[in-house]
């Protein structure tokens, strides 16, 4: 059983937001009008934003440090603890998933998450004409729940799933080809698309995987480690 983990090298990241866009198309996150986006209702499972501590001056002078932030897939996730109906849960491989069919929209998980990785559908998702016919048809295999890239109804919470449907697809392909599933078969869209090759993905339990070796780096740190959530996304400091 793999323990999926991601390493993001901030030294390499150029904050191009390619990961955000790839995620958007992969996971069918709805497009939001500029007015709603200004209100803070845009949905970006992988958000790229300047760190607040840098201040306005740093941002103006292009000196700010940017952070790209997928779901941390915490080992000890605060969101799962507070969900009243079990709509969000951690699967066998440590991925924190969200079941749109069960979510009651109480938004307790969005409040509990210190990273702000959870998004609420404030209204029925919509796409511009042309885009709506080119949505990702992939679906999460298994219990038939509404998960991953499935179109969300309004009033539910959604979040990054490490492209869980890609995992299921990779297993199915390996099976069809009559071979063992290899960890390298499965890559989330943000990792695949990363311009600077700043993202690494793999099995944390495998001591020889890239992520395990990089997590031993002296530059390695976890976001808001003091919140006690034990994130499985590990960052590498700049410089």
């Amino acid at each position: 059983m793999a323990k999926w983990s991601m390493v993001i090298d901030l030294d390499k990241c150029v904050a191009c937001q390619g990961c955000s866009i790839a995620c958007r198309f992969e996971n069918n996150t709805p497009v939001v009008s500029p007015e709603e986006a200004a209100l803070g209702r845009s949905i970006l499972w992988n958000e790229v934003f300047p760190l607040r501590s840098e201040g306005e001056a740093a941002i103006a002078s292009a000196q700010a440090k940017f952070l790209t932030r997928p779901c941390m897939h915490c080992e000890d996730p605060p969101c799962i603890k507070v969900c009243p109906v079990g709509a969000t849960y951690k699967d066998d491989e440590g991925i924190v998933r969200q079941n749109y069919a069960r979510c009651i929209g109480c938004r307790f998980c969005t409040v509990a998450c210190p990273y702000g990785v959870r998004y609420f559908n404030w209204y029925e998702p919509s796409w511009e004409e042309g885009m709506d016919t080119h949505l990702n048809p992939d679906r999460v295999a298994g219990r038939g729940d509404l998960e991953g890239p499935a179109i969300r109804p309004k009033g539910v919470v959604e979040k990054c799933t490490f492209c869980i449907h890609r995992h299921h697809k990779a297993i199915a392909r390996a099976e069809a080809e009559g071979r063992e599933f290899r960890n390298s078969d499965y890559t989330p869209a943000c990792v695949q698309t990363c311009t600077a090759k700043a993202r690494f993905f793999g099995d944390f339990d495998d001591p020889n995987s890239t992520v395990s070796r990089l997590s031993q780096s002296r530059r390695a740190f976890r976001l808001l480690d003091e919140a006690g959530t034990s994130p499985k996304v590990i960052y590498l400091h700049e410089g």
Binding site: P84, V85, V111, P114, N121, W122, A227
Partner: protein
């Protein structure tokens, strides 16, 4: 046949069958507001939660504030009827029914806020079908449900003898359905000894049971916030802090209800100054404890210098939420002042200049002028030579002294007007406690860890649903008290019997000096026997 006292008949039973125009006008206005809120809620259902002012990161807004506020108000009933019944406080008798009704209706309105706040209210049953007991929301569902069932029972039990009384004392012109209603509600009550013993036992058991449930309700509501790691919420003090605040705002709401009822139905003989005075003393205690908790809560954040918590605090002290924070503090301080200071100054205080109206008027004028200079930041003629730093303290210091004198004058005025003072304090505290919930939820929501800081402005939908909730609360109150007497007739009658028995007790009066004064302090005026 149970017989009602003639006075009770005129004052308490008659108004149930005679409805004035004001009543119907009020009902119509309330229904209009509720209708507006229903329409706005329908819009929210069809268009989604985007019609609210909520967004990321402010995932909880006014609905959550209302939820905590209304559940807080609901603590009025438990405190008054349960705690006072258990401790045998006789003066509770005329106000128990009002207090218990506030509890039941505030709980209904409060729970409704959660459904309004849900993105998928159609999946409400999922909370029971797929409920996870580890989630604080489930704790809440359990404790609020227990509290609701308990308080409905607790409201109904003392209604039984009154319903029987009504059944037997209906005016001839009353409609037939009311006779049927009271017959059913009375459960065949005849007022015999066995029935009384059973009723008293049931009420006594409920009174004891409901106290821990009530404490659990607001503790758990605070835990919804405190079990998260959000800046400013992760605090052990939240449980008791919320319970104290709940009882505090509950008494405030009770004061308002008591005064309106007393004034509209002319119940001065039933709800006397004694109720206001004794309940006022509990109110003062709660006020002091609330201030202590508020101070402790903010003090520790100040000293902690946590990088994420500190901005939440500063936004309250001088940032975006300074107005709501300081208005809350001012309301609480002023309500404490007008409850406490009039009790401290003597009746002959008007001999002193500071208590005389002309002095107070002068202080008000001076305070207005000083406040004007402070707000507009204009230069004060004749004081331009003074060091600006000295002037800074001089202006603020003199404003404080002037306000102090205004306060003393006002306290003198309130000295002889206990009901007015108490009601004004009640209104202030109810508003102040709503603001307190706002000040706890919104500044933390707008100042999260990683997401950029945000602003929150409630929309017309949220305003409409808040107004509708308040209207629904008053509506239920009015309808209920059109059907059932506002004062528990049998409890008051029982109180009269007990009073009459006690009046027969003779107290020997020793000659020793000082005893007379001490007894007078306890309200015993004349030596008997």
């Amino acid at each position: 046949m149970l017989k009602a006292d003639q006075k009770d008949k005129d004052k308490l039973i008659k108004p149930l069958f005679e409805t004035g125009r004001t009543y119907w006008v009020t009902i119509a206005i309330l229904l209009a507001i509720i209708g507006w809120a229903l329409y706005m809620y329908y819009r929210q259902l069809t268009l989604g939660m985007k019609v609210t002012g909520m967004q990321r990161p402010v995932y909880w807004g006014v609905y959550m504030v209302n939820f905590i506020f209304f559940i807080g108000i609901s603590h009025a009933g438990t405190l008054i009827s349960a705690i006072l019944r258990v401790t045998g406080a006789e003066w509770r008798r005329p106000i128990t029914r009002v207090a218990e009704a506030i509890t039941a209706f505030a709980l209904i309105v409060g729970s409704l806020q959660i459904i309004i706040d849900m993105g998928r209210p159609d999946r409400l049953l999922s909370v029971i079908l797929n409920g996870r007991l580890q989630s604080p929301i489930l704790w809440d569902v359990l404790s609020v449900t227990a509290y609701f069932l308990g308080s409905i029972t607790y409201l109904y039990l003392p209604v039984i003898p009154d319903a029987a009384l009504l059944r037997d004392n209906l005016p001839p012109y009353s409609p037939a359905w009311r006779k049927r209603l009271y017959s059913i509600m009375a459960l065949g009550w005849r007022g015999n000894r066995t029935q009384w013993i059973r009723l008293e036992k049931a009420i006594a058991v409920m009174a004891v049971l409901i106290i821990p449930i009530a404490v659990s309700v607001h503790t758990i509501i605070s835990w919804i916030l405190a079990t998260t790691v959000q800046p400013g919420w992760h605090s052990t003090i939240f449980g008791p802090y919320f319970v104290v605040g709940a009882i505090f705002s509950g008494i405030g709401a009770l004061f308002i209800a008591m005064t309106i009822v007393r004034w509209k139905l002319k119940l001065e003989e039933y709800i006397t100054e004694k109720q206001y005075n004794n309940l006022g003393l509990i109110f003062i205690t709660m006020s002091a404890v609330w201030m202590y908790f508020t101070y402790a809560e903010h003090m520790i954040i100040t000293a902690g210098q946590e990088v994420y918590e500190f901005p939440v605090l500063t936004s309250k002290l001088w940032g975006d939420y300074a107005v709501s924070f300081w208005v809350m503090v001012a309301l609480m301080v002023v309500s404490f002042w007008i409850m406490v200071i009039p009790r401290l100054i003597s009746k002959t205080a008007k001999r002193f200049l500071v208590f005389q109206p002309r002095f107070t008027t002068g202080a008000v004028l001076l305070a207005v002028v000083t406040g004007y200079y402070l707000v507009t930041d204009s230069t004060i003629p004749g004081l331009s030579g003074i060091n600006p730093e000295t002037l800074f303290f001089l202006v603020r210091g003199s404003l404080l002294v002037e306000l102090l004198f205004v306060g003393l004058g006002v306290a003198k005025w309130f000295k002889t007007r206990l009901v007015a003072a108490t009601t004004v304090a009640g209104v202030m505290v109810v508003i102040g406690m709503w603001l307190e919930r706002w000040n706890i939820i919104i500044p933390t929501m707008t100042h999260p860890y990683l997401v950029s800081w945000a602003e929150y402005h409630p929309t017309i939908t949220e305003v409409a649903l808040t107004a509708g909730s308040v209207a629904l609360f008053i509506f239920m109150f009015l309808v209920f008290f059109k059907l059932f007497p506002i004062i528990s007739i049998w409890e008051v009658a029982e109180g009269r019997v007990i009073d009459a028995e006690r009046a027969k007790v003779t107290i020997p009066m020793p000659e020793a000096s000082g005893i007379k004064e001490r007894l007078r302090g306890k309200g015993i005026r004349k030596a008997r026997g």
